[in-house]
């Protein structure tokens, strides 16, 4: 890929989705944009860039920027964190909220495996303290195609074998004639799927007890990370928790959040930990 073409597409990714793609990973751009290039009949990435530059089409540009975001995910990624969510964080939020209702947002949820993993845990291992609670799960992704795939709940041979036990596979999925596996309706009905760009305000999505934004920030540049953190923090209910991926820290990015006591990767509104300590 020529330098000029790479620069144009890397700039598109940065502005459209906050993704910072280094030159050493230009192959990612080719891999992620090639389905769109094929569909539109472009022989090369140069042709695609030429099209983006010659006629202003914000919808197409946004589609390309969304396609450049990593979709890498799998079932039960960070199992320990998911168990803590279901067994500790949600029960604590339910007790504190006193409404009998909990709202979870999987921000940057890709093809839906993380949201489905939570739904499976709630089906299979619901702690007594959550019985009777109404738990809503929202999964959003920047990419329309990815969101549609998540909503369909259909996964291929490789996807259902990454992180998912065979016992859960046969319990919660049905094998289709195509060879794909479809998540059962009771699971899918627990989750809403929406297209949403985390760089934009999420006010329309409502407020949440827990926001999972895992392995999303690590691919972004500093400016985008700050913006995303501001946007998701604004949607956190008082006392709510943000869960980030392993190694995704916020020190130096925001003074609105601080690490939660005793829960690795969990962040709460600044001052909460001190209040909890004095209350204990």
């Amino acid at each position: 890929m020529q330098d000029a073409v790479f620069d144009e597409l890397a700039d598109l990714a940065l502005k459209g989705s906050g993704q910072s793609i280094p030159k050493s990973k230009s192959y990612l751009i080719e891999a992620r944009l090639s389905p769109i290039a094929r569909r539109e009949g472009f022989g090369t990435m140069d042709d695609l860039v030429h099209c983006l530059k010659s006629r202003a089409n914000p919808v197409f540009a946004a589609e390309c920027a969304a396609a450049l975001v990593s979709k890498d995910t799998w079932f039960f990624r960070d199992r320990e964190m998911l168990h803590r969510l279901v067994n500790e964080i949600l029960p604590a939020r339910l007790k504190a909220g006193n409404t009998g209702r909990l709202k979870i947002w999987v921000a940057g949820g890709s093809t839906g495996q993380e949201a489905l993993s939570i739904a499976m845990l709630l089906e299979d291992e619901l702690p007594a303290s959550l019985r009777g609670a109404k738990i809503d799960i929202l999964s959003t992704d920047i990419c329309k195609v990815t969101t549609e795939r998540a909503r369909a709940g259909r996964y291929g041979h490789y996807e259902v074998q990454k992180g998912l036990s065979v016992h859960r596979l046969v319990k919660h999925f049905t094998r289709m004639e195509t060879g794909q596996w479809e998540a059962a309706e009771p699971l899918r009905s627990r989750i809403s799927f929406r297209q949403h760009n985390l760089l934009e305000s999420a006010a329309g999505l409502g407020k949440f007890d827990v926001i999972l934004c895992r392995n999303v920030l690590s691919g972004m540049d500093r400016t985008a990370r700050i913006r995303v953190i501001e946007n998701i923090t604004a949607q956190l209910m008082p006392g709510g928790v943000i869960l980030l991926g392993q190694g995704e820290g916020l020190i130096g990015l925001t003074d609105q959040l601080e690490p939660a006591r005793d829960i690795r990767g969990a962040w709460v509104a600044a001052g909460t930990a001190a209040r909890d300590a004095s209350a204990a």
């Binding site: 799998w74 490789y158 990454k162 036990s165 065979v166 016992h167 596979l169 094998r175």
Partner: protein, 121 residues
């Protein structure tokens, strides 16, 4: 070091699987059918068995049922590994005592994920 017995009538599959399993720090032994595998298990039970379904002499399902009846035969964690990937076959494997099921074709990532699923790594 944990041990893994790879049972498959395809030499190529055994070779590929052995390479991946060795990378997971297992000592590997091989058998080309269920009867040969059962004879090996009677001498020494492995920690894990990676088991094909369709094989001559004794197929994977018959081997698994026989293994579970052996003294100490409950110990090995058995991961069925087959091209028969419909729910009926998978359920039959589980009913017969399989701990996990790997759908062929597989790669190193899937094998490692399934080994982790049963607590082998």
């Amino acid at each position: 070091m944990k041990t893994c017995l790879i049972v498959d009538d395809s030499r190529v599959v055994r070779k590929v699987a052995a390479r991946i399993v060795k990378d997971l720090r297992f000592a590997v032994s091989e058998a080309s059918d269920g009867a040969e595998a059962l004879a090996q298990c009677r001498k020494q039970m492995p920690d894990a068995v990676l088991l094909d379904w369709n094989m001559p002499v004794m197929n994977g399902l018959d081997f698994l049922r026989a293994l579970r009846r052996e003294e100490g035969g409950k110990k090995p964690l058995v991961l069925f590994c087959s091209i028969e990937t419909d729910a009926e076959h998978i359920n039959e494997a589980i009913r017969s005592g399989a701990d996990e099921f790997i759908m062929k074709p597989f790669d190193a990532e899937i094998l490692e994920s399934k080994f982790a699923e049963v607590g082998l790594v």
